[in-house]
Symmetry: D2
Subunit: 326 residues, 4 copies
């Protein structure tokens, strides 16, 4: 059994990681930490897990583990990773924060407004979105798990980026409130969120730097928005090919062998279909040279926890769907 | 025209008061204050009012007004009232906070955990729920506007309290998220509120002290809960008469002359019907000795702003529905 | 007073028209019809109007009226209009259906799949979106009120269409469930709609024919979607100018004199702001040659009832905002 | 492996049964039927199951199975059961409909308004709510699975029914829209359901007959209501003991050995906690002689599918939680 620890398990990403590890047939959840909930049962933070796990939050992680997921905030992921590395942890680290996703420290500084806490570790990290990057190379000790918007949009745009298309792609995508985390914020205040849609960081979302790495060379613009639901990202990418041509074969070539991508030719996927699942749904509709590509994922699963499991499965030589499909 | 000021107009109750005064044919909104939004247009706090009012938030209220609504937090309502009185304001004050609702300072201390800021003014206040208390007596200078749960439940129970019923009445009522105010809180975090119901302050809600004053002598218990919507209170009161008897005539006798109460014999009102309106909806179903009384109001309207207008209309000798019905 | 009748007043558009006419200072609501609710009080269909109006649904409309709004389904609007004209009605008809919006019967047949019921009346109709078309010309007896998506998108695109821009504009817009009407449908089934987003009629929405008339010459594509809320349309139009240039002055030039359009330079409007109001909110963000234009309306108000009032106000020589703003 | 079939698998209960059987380590899903979706993949009805199961809906069930779940409408469950019995099916039938829940045909007629289709089979059925009735007796061939409201309320009231309490218990409980099934209805129309609460069948809900069997001898009244969410039942039972006394020990005695019941002394459970899980959450608050008991379940899981699995596990001698907990 793979011995697993989760650092900072009291938030939403932590919760999903706990649930995923508990159902994984090859994993055993040994440690979950939370300073704010130290010595309390895990169900004190996640009531619905009462009766399912007897684990108690610890303050510190043990290094006698095979895999550690770090569900810390941006900036703190690199610090926690550094501490584990410095303490001689020799297993696999999966950092859920943005800290090791960008290849160079200068882009990190530009996007996150602070110098990278551990630039010395940057080139040891594998930024892994399995359907695009493939499995982590042998010997990988640090995996940077992609962001939620970045995962969804990169998967929708990556096949296009392989075709040499030069026309602009317009992306509008909406995310649920769980993407803002477990702490109440003005943007997740129920009266402001329910029945509302609100664009934010128009053309300035920090995940664009990840998309640039995963679907390079494409000219795109991105309007992110908050939608009135809890889980899931739904979006549309539109482009005009400026010529005749068929877009579907590109997607089939890219993803037909991917068990966790579902293609929907001739229709755009509904948000509901992927919520609660490890799947990415991608569909398209074409009319002459006009193309609409729809995409949807669960922001906490394919956008975080199940993608992390997928990455670990691959790093450890398991089938990537183990623990993710019945 | 009645010259109106609103103290602390940047919150939800303030917003509804602004809207009500703007459509009131006998009122003119002269001043709205907000320290956090000083010198900003009102629409900076209430975007939907852009194009409707050009008013700018002031920091301080003017005393050259006929009516001042104070939409401050509990504890601060009395302080603000005291300052106005001390400054020689001679018009009508409507305090939307809990501060002048309870007749004696000791109950206030017990319910709110702090000594009353201005006990000297307590006996000058009129605690007014028009359909129960009638209009403010001549010369009233300070009106204490009832709480939202208190308004809804008192109106549902008051007719029973006139009958000498001695059996216990069980009340379960749910409120929307706007009742928690405009500032984000853990209880209004979208992922926790959407699709959820959560009881709180079971048998301990502070509005019970108001209900005790408005529907005295009744043996009741109250389970308040948070529901997954923004506006409105919906609840059910159940009792067993322990004898044959018909309950409907009691409600008709109490409310048939009340233009802002709608009675629904034989059915319980839906929450939707009263939301956005100044009405209280009350219905009942009886089966043998079992009785269910359903009730619904808009917590920010009958539970705050329109009830305040109703009280002012009556205090100034106007028809109580002026400005509230087309 | 303008004597008003509403044909088919039991649906959602009918409800909003009733409410708008009741608060209009120059209008008097004389007749509301509904065959399914014949001889029942209006509040039997619209519970929240109990206590506000004593009107009873009639089966047939009276022709002794100044204005008749027809809130019938597509295809039936033209039939009802024709019957009124044939019966000698000499007042103003406002048809809320799609039947008189398109200039020629061939486009109608192509879009709606049935021959136009009354092509003889087509050239008597004024297709009026006031901020684009201006007021109805003197003598107008039949106004075709635009569709909800058409109103929102045309207002967002019209200024662009005046600039000679040739690059493709990508529109993604989401609408609430009230746009589907008062009768339950699979697309408005709560478990399917709540927490979901679903694209439909991608590149094929029938309102495109209206947009073609109102913002002609523009190359655009439109992905409509259903969102998990009741009222309101929210959308984004994106384009790449392919050159430097500033887009804002175009919008100011087009709409600065329009009291029911609110411009938001540098930000995209939230859906909430316009819901419940007669306003159209339009904002924009530009980064280099990339442009995002956001727009929002209440689909039943600016998308139907208040736009109809606006059209009637203008046709009768009143200020267009009478009855719409306090 | 236990060979399982599901009759009528295209609805919501069918969907949850499919999901539960797919993750059950001792079960193999061999057949799912749906006449409306004959020969279509299961994911045509349940999009989120694409990529998870390759099963295709059949029109007819095979009798070469160990367990058949019948997810038919009331009235049709008995007919389908009868056909299976007549065809010589010798395995275990679990009828999800109401048809075999009531012990006598006369009560069925009174509650459902139609004669029982197969009264000859009534006394062969085991009405099983495991925490109250215990496991099905050896040789059971037909299990009647309880209704959703009946399960929740009976579990909340059963311990009280063991104490000889004679005072009236008032129950108010709200259910989500999935309880109305997969077909759109007026009561699940999004604009009517969202932001609304609506009581229905006050004191007349058909599940009362089941509660009478499971928690006999108790004097209770029940107000059911529809809440604005998809999954889950949340409710409160209130009573006045009319004497001093402590209620908690009763619940501990009844349920401390039940792995799928979670007790919450001193607080009422939130709806969220049980949604998506096989658990029943029960909590209580007591103040003097006043008692509030809160309860929550997932109406499609403990109220249908997972309770059915629990019953089958017990009937087949397995641990009742197999396939339900990780």
């Amino acid at each position: 059994m793979i011995r697993v620890g989760i650092l900072h398990g009291a938030g939403y990403v932590g919760r999903k990681l706990i649930e995923q590890v508990l159902v994984h047939p090859e994993m055993r959840l040994d440690v979950v930490t939370s300073r704010s909930h130290e010595n309390q049962p895990v169900w004190k933070a996640h009531s619905h897990l009462r009766g399912i796990t007897e684990l108690v939050f610890l303050a510190e992680i043990d290094v006698d583990l095979d895999v550690i997921f770090i569900a810390a905030a941006h900036g703190q992921g690199a610090v926690a990773t550094g501490k584990l590395v410095d303490a001689g942890f020799n297993g696999l680290i999966v950092d859920m924060s943005a800290d090791f996703r960008l290849k160079d420290a200068a882009t990190y500084l530009a996007r996150y407004g602070a110098p990278h806490p551990r630039p010395d570790l940057l080139n040891t990290a594998w930024f892994g979105l399995p359907e695009i990057t493939g499995p982590p190379p042998a010997g990988t000790k640090l995996i940077a798990n992609p962001g939620c918007f970045a995962s969804a949009i990169s998967l929708a745009l990556y096949p296009l980026s392989q075709t040499g298309i030069t026309t602009a792609v317009s992306v509008t995508a909406l995310t649920g409130a769980s993407g803002s985390g477990a702490v109440a914020k003005a943007t997740t205040h129920f009266p402001s969120r329910s029945g509302n849609v609100k664009a934010y960081k128009v053309f300035e979302h920090q995940h664009e730097a990840e998309i640039d790495q995963l679907a390079p060379g494409l000219k795109y613009s991105f309007v992110p928005a908050s939608g009135p639901w809890t889980d899931g990202i739904w979006g549309v990418a539109q482009l005009d090919l400026n010529k005749e041509g068929e877009i579907g074969s590109t997607f089939h070539a890219a993803y037909d062998q991917c068990p966790l991508i579902r293609l929907w030719p001739g229709q755009l996927p509904e948000l509901h279909w992927s919520v609660g699942s490890p799947f990415t749904d991608i569909g398209w509709v074409q009319k002459g040279s006009q193309v609409a590509i729809g995409f949807a994922i669960d922001n906490l699963l394919k956008g975080a926890a199940t993608q992390a499991i997928q990455n670990v499965n691959l790093a450890l030589g398991l089938d990537q769907t183990i623990g993710l499909l019945p």
